[in-house]
């Protein structure tokens, strides 16, 4: 069928969707699974197929009061009950309440089976139909097709019988997930050619090894006759929640932008930015280690707290004690703000969890604390637990969380070189941030000094000069521009004599 035929079919009979209840999935699928259809869920070993199939039923029971039948060809029901108890799902209780039913088609160890002539799988169909009718199920999960093919050697017959099963369930209006094995992450859809009979709707789960780190993603390959979001979305498996998909929001979201300004915490910096940061903007502060990023973060928080705004700080580089001590050294009392309920400091080591888990923690804290401004110090510390792809996804998702709340977010990034140069964080971040502030060491006549410039500020006039700044027990002080130095940003400062400066100046004089 061609794409136009597809559209015609879709316009005649719109495909409705059944909200799965799996967090994030109904967003990326734009409503859930095609209702009354079979969806193939393909993935390699360990890609969380069984969990997804079970969660589809569990969320149906928990969130929509819809009963479900789990057909298992592989694991015995007692194993599934036990495994899913760790997710907090009491399947045995649901079975008693007639909300969950197993059809146990797992091979029985020790039983002799003799194959003798022609047969069909009508008995399986009879059992599934019976289970569906017994509990009034709306959902069926079948796990996994590959195991049927290994139980019966005639794969042509198995394919034909599974097609019959899918047709029978469709006639009953049941929404079905069938899982199937893949051998490669980026190869044929599934083994045994199962996509031939459940080709309309295909979802792929991946568990890719990238830079020695595991990364799970989900991709909706196709939904016949209906829309869905394209591409791979990262997900994670949490002990008490199961699969949580992270819906990367694209930045072209219809986000309102505000011309309200908020203080950066430093009057001088506010002046450089033309009156402060925009209320719904993202600010990236980039610089080498020790050149003042954490100080800028602390000032940003103090600026908010002094105006009775709630601030949320995620710290990935320093412990709570270090942070509080440092801030005190700059005349900023974090503990007082915390007592006043204006500040929450969340400290975590990047290595304590996977990137997806950090992201979910950040989102949960934002939802809970409902801050007026957010700071992350530093985002680049999280690069250590990320792969190239997942870090980009992470940044985009993080940005969208903050943008949706229409609050300012200040993120710091550490550059690899002391004297400047780009960082990975910057390359992912720079195009989606509204404001970029660079902090640089400047070597001048045998002395290390610090420079600051507003590199970019979307929608506002701002100063273009590189200014010197100093740090003392009152915090940050922005001073005069470096007039006679060039090459600060590239990390190779050179000094101009007054003659040269006059000459450069006169080059552009009328």
């Amino acid at each position: 069928m061609t794409a136009t035929d597809d559209q015609k079919e879709a316009s005649k009979t719109p495909v409705l969707k059944l909200a799965s209840g799996i967090e994030g999935f109904d967003l990326i699928s734009q409503g859930g699974l095609p209702i009354g259809r079979t969806t193939l869920l393909a993935g390699t070993a360990g890609s969380a197929k069984t969990l997804f199939a079970a969660q589809f039923l569990a969320e149906g029971i928990r969130k929509h009061d819809e009963a479900g039948v789990f057909v298992t060809f592989e694991e015995p029901p007692e194993d599934i009950r036990k495994n899913l108890l760790s997710m907090g799902w009491k399947i045995e209780t649901w079975e008693v309440e007639k909300k969950w039913a197993f059809v146990d088609a797992a091979p029985q160890p020790g039983e002799e089976i003799v194959m003798a002539g022609d047969f069909d799988l009508g008995a399986l169909l009879a059992r599934i139909e019976h289970a569906v009718n017994r509990i009034g199920a709306k959902r069926v999960s079948i796990d996994s097709l590959g195991a049927v093919f290994t139980q019966f050697s005639d794969s042509g017959l198995v394919r034909a019988e599974l097609r019959r099963l899918a047709a029978a369930l469709r006639a009953m209006g049941i929404t079905v997930i069938m899982t199937a094995e893949r051998t490669d992450e980026y190869g044929e859809i599934a083994r045994f050619g199962v996509e031939e009979f459940v080709a309309d709707n295909v979802i792929i789960l991946r568990n890719v090894l990238e830079d020695a780190k595991r990364r799970r993603t989900i991709e909706i390959l196709k939904f016949r006759g209906t829309v869905h979001r394209k591409g791979e979305y990262p997900f994670t498996v949490l002990p008490d929640q199961g699969i949580v998909i992270i819906p990367l929001s694209s930045i072209e979201l219809k986000l309102r932008s505000s011309d309200l300004r908020v203080t950066s915490g430093s009057q001088e910096l506010d002046r450089m930015c033309g009156g402060g940061f925009f209320r719904d903007s993202l600010i990236l502060v980039s610089g080498a280690t020790g050149c003042g990023k954490t100080l800028m973060t602390a000032e940003f928080i103090a600026g908010g707290s002094e105006n009775n705004e709630k601030c949320l700080l995620f710290a990935y580089e320093e412990s709570r004690e270090q942070l509080i001590r440092n801030a005190t050294g700059w005349g900023i009392d974090f503990e007082k703000y915390e007592r006043d309920g204006l500040l929450k400091v969340v400290c975590a080591y990047p290595e304590s969890a996977g990137l997806e888990d950090h992201l979910i923690q950040i989102k949960a804290e934002i939802d809970l604390f409902k801050p007026n401004r957010i700071a992350v110090d530093s985002v680049s510390a999280l690069e250590r637990v990320a792969t190239r792809h997942s870090f980009r996804d992470f940044i985009i998702t993080l940005v969208s969380f903050v943008k949706q709340r229409e609050i300012p977010g200040l993120f710091t990034a550490t550059t690899a070189n002391l004297m400047g140069g780009p960082s990975v964080t910057e390359s992912h971040f720079s195009s989606i941030t509204d404001t970029i502030i660079l902090l640089r060491y400047v070597e001048m006549l045998g002395e290390m000094r610090r420079g600051l410039t507003v590199l970019k500020m979307r929608g506002s006039m701002h100063e273009k000069e590189i200014r010197e700044f100093t740090i003392d027990n009152k915090g940050m002080h922005i001073c005069k521009p470096f007039r006679n130095v060039i090459g600060i940003l590239t990390g190779k400062p050179e000094y101009l004599t007054m003659d040269e400066m006059d000459r450069v100046g006169s080059l552009f004089a009328d």
Partner: protein, 100 residues
């Protein structure tokens, strides 16, 4: 032949299907000759008695289940190869004797 043990069979079929009828005939013809002191056979319609199909975890039709003597065994298919069927059923209940 073990006269003291009675053989008990269940045959799961899909209603009046051709495969079911063939399986029944093939089995009865073979078993009648083999178990001269009798055997019991109950035919179960998978769609009319799905709870029994579930209880015995039957997947395919026709399926012949040997309930007694132990150990349980299942034969899947219409059993059209009677020579094979005779061999399989001939071993039933004989244990070492059949193997020797």
């Amino acid at each position: 032949m073990s006269a003291c043990r009675k053989h008990r069979f269940l045959l799961f079929v899909d209603g009046d299907s051709l495969l079911g009828r063939r399986a029944l005939k093939n089995f009865q013809d073979t078993a009648d000759g083999l178990f001269q002191d009798g055997y019991s056979l109950e035919v179960v319609d998978i769609f009319k008695a799905p709870e029994r199909t579930e209880a015995f975890r039957v997947m395919a039709a026709p399926t012949l289940l040997l309930l007694a003597p132990m150990p349980q065994m299942r034969i899947i298919g219409d059993m059209r190869d009677r020579e094979q069927l005779r061999k399989v059923l001939g071993k039933v209940g004989h244990g070492e004797e059949g193997a020797a």
